[in-house]
Symmetry: C3
Subunit: 354 residues, 3 copies
Amino acid sequence: MRDPTAAKANPGNGFEDFRLGQIIAHATPRTVTVGDVALYHGLFGPRFAVQSSDAFAGAIGYPRSPVDDLLVFHMVFGMTVPDVSLNAVANLGYADCRFLKPVYPGDTLNATSEVIGLKENSSRKTGIVYVRSRGLNQHGEAVLDYVRWVMVRKRDEAAPAPGERMPELSKVVLPAQLGAACPPLKSGAYDTTLAGSSHRFGDYRAGEKIDHVDGITVEEAEHMIATRLYHNTARVHFNQFSESQGRFGRRLIYGGHVISLARALSFNGLANAFHVSAINGGRHVAPLFAGGTVFAWSEVLETAGVPGRDDIGALRLRTIATRDRPCPDFPANEGDGYDPAVILDLDYWVVMPR
Amino acid sequence: MRDPTAAKANPGNGFEDFRLGQIIAHATPRTVTVGDVALYHGLFGPRFAVQSSDAFAGAIGYPRSPVDDLLVFHMVFGMTVPDVSLNAVANLGYADCRFLKPVYPGDTLNATSEVIGLKENSSRKTGIVYVRSRGLNQHGEAVLDYVRWVMVRKRDEAAPAPGERMPELSKVVLPAQLGAACPPLKSGAYDTTLAGSSHRFGDYRAGEKIDHVDGITVEEAEHMIATRLYHNTARVHFNQFSESQGRFGRRLIYGGHVISLARALSFNGLANAFHVSAINGGRHVAPLFAGGTVFAWSEVLETAGVPGRDDIGALRLRTIATRDRPCPDFPANEGDGYDPAVILDLDYWVVMPR
Amino acid sequence: MRDPTAAKANPGNGFEDFRLGQIIAHATPRTVTVGDVALYHGLFGPRFAVQSSDAFAGAIGYPRSPVDDLLVFHMVFGMTVPDVSLNAVANLGYADCRFLKPVYPGDTLNATSEVIGLKENSSRKTGIVYVRSRGLNQHGEAVLDYVRWVMVRKRDEAAPAPGERMPELSKVVLPAQLGAACPPLKSGAYDTTLAGSSHRFGDYRAGEKIDHVDGITVEEAEHMIATRLYHNTARVHFNQFSESQGRFGRRLIYGGHVISLARALSFNGLANAFHVSAINGGRHVAPLFAGGTVFAWSEVLETAGVPGRDDIGALRLRTIATRDRPCPDFPANEGDGYDPAVILDLDYWVVMPR
């Protein structure tokens, strides 16, 4: 029988608490509503027609506007934080992120993670944990699947490493996997005027670079409202009292906030890229703090057909976000590193109507 | 065939890009939801019973609470920004704004504009563009119709003026046009206690001045969340990096934010003025910046019956909003200009139950 | 016949305007929506599964997720402000607060108050008003009932006291009254993994203290958005222009904001305490201002069965919230007063599954 006075607050997992093959069922399930969608619009301002208008979405073959892909990502991600990354030193990367089914207001999301890799660092103070996380809807159908890896502190430096295995990760999601969350489109009904741009899939070329022009300044209230909305509890985002004594002296903005800002900015140049279908990888190159203004530009890395689909094509994009630096000259790598203004380097697939 | 490498980002229109009679169909259509309504309540705090309670609205003849008139206005306005005012130097005025049908959560709005006037300025660097914009619901019915004029930069100073015509604009919307968006009311069911004031239409007199007493301080996060919610992308509101080098050194708050604040404040004195049915004209006398506290007062300019309606009467109001200045003494014009605290001078019609 | 030029703005009631036994029907009724719920999540980040997931709530016996109890409290409280506490000097206390029926999105709330006690202060400048306030749904059913008392200024110091009576107030709500707003649960279907903790009712003991660990910093935009959402118009929260000249030099955060933050923080240690069923009393020990970081800890004062219910048990909790001070050592009383960091001392009942 359990000690009834056992500590009740969640201390989070240390590196040595993870086991290869361990399956973690995460709390708290979350019904996504039009209220969440409205807040997402208010916080980021995406203007993609499919996610903004039930009438537009309905005309092309969706039952109604689906929930923004990244809002789904953030909510699933948020559920994993208390178990996976409460004691994380750093969020190191993402891979093989695929959106598998559209999510609609009223759907309830929950999440599980499997530990697929572990590697203790040479300092023996931390280790890297690789998890494959999955978001499910109320019917138990997977809506999202992705790998992320984080560096986690050990609770006890003397504890033995819980295993060692580096998972094999795909570098790029294959085009055949890109259409899962996009119903067959009545492409003829896709109104490019209402959508804000006449540029369809065929108008983009690999190597093309697009400056998204606009900049958005971020306030503390905004990123905290967003991150709480996702039930993401990582303390670095919320607790100025402790962060004032920390590495940066201030609250760190959730990296996903930058991804959502970059995606919203990318409307200006990619208005018909209505669906993020996969994320190949991403790197939060530098932190963002409140008061910073985020800019972004994108390069088309690849264009691809989606097997079995003549309604849509896919663009593999690299989107770079910067802090306090417009991007007409496409800042990115510099020497071995990055232009000092770069904060995000994201590699992902979007689909567009043909 | 189009050059596939053509610039993809929207540069906005310069003055010389407009043509008299040109019809512009705007992106992005927008389904209005209870989520948008909740955010509108959180950002402005209007307490009008019809827009707050489905039960109250249902009792007097609406199928449910209609969406706040100004939220509809801001959403339609937001759609017009990328085409009409992205390169605007100044938003000069509004006229003949009429609310034509109620909008309910679930309705989808879209917008078109017709260029009805053009006038190059003597500097030849800018010109004034007059557009009549129309908001439509998913059935193609007009819900809102208004004229606004903006001063727009030319892309090329040497370009010839695209035409010259000053439109005739009505100074005041006629009372016969005021009932369109208000269903026949069961006036007997209008509960003035629940609505917050016993003062009905008959209790107001032309010339009466009302101090709305309260003040609301505005934060950067608030006006940016609001303006993104409307898909209004005007960069002066969002980009502190560029605005720090601009005329004011800081982000400028969307003029419509001040209108919504003044309307919310006006509840204290006009609690039964449940519907803005028309805006005759408005002037953003001075800019508002975050940290400023907005106060407001109103004068009843005129009282009018609405032809064919014995359930409602209309008040023509002049509402003045100020910055950091309470209004017990009704500040307004001063010499040739305004009291230096005045930021908004709005002339509009509201309807009230008789 | 009324003077049509009578002042229209609400001056609020002075102490001498109240009468023993007076019933006040408050404006403005309010339909609660999933939009309000989303904002509440964004502002506080509560992670209780019942209020977050329609699927979870449905599995255990609710028709869908009920609205967070404290959101209901704040909305009803907000309605009472213009009549009860617009001229309040201080919000002195709460007692006998019982949640009587669940509220669901789509329900419309309204509120009434009865004046149950009056006591002029010896200065004759102020008096204490006790009201029993009741929140009702659209069917006229009571959903919430509570007593609060406030110190209110007299408009005219020479006015006679409007009566004198101190009401008898229960110190603690009885366990028999705790189940009203909780439907019979299918306890077997309550999934503690999804809910975030394996600790059920039987795992808690009287005297047990729980540090909720996390801290949340509050921004001006956040508390103003929250308080406007509740239609709470108390000027101290909104008007920096007047508050800059006031006692604190800045806007005061609504005490209910602290209660909601403490409740959200308490998830970490009390994840299955899914329903606040009663508030026995509460004291806002010190004010909170923007920029402060709120921490909290709880003590289990009492554990109790709920008569007639074998699905749930009740914990009587004392939750202490602090400002800029973590709580591993459970700060509370100190000498005759409190640890200087304490801002809230709340005594309430929650129910948990057995």
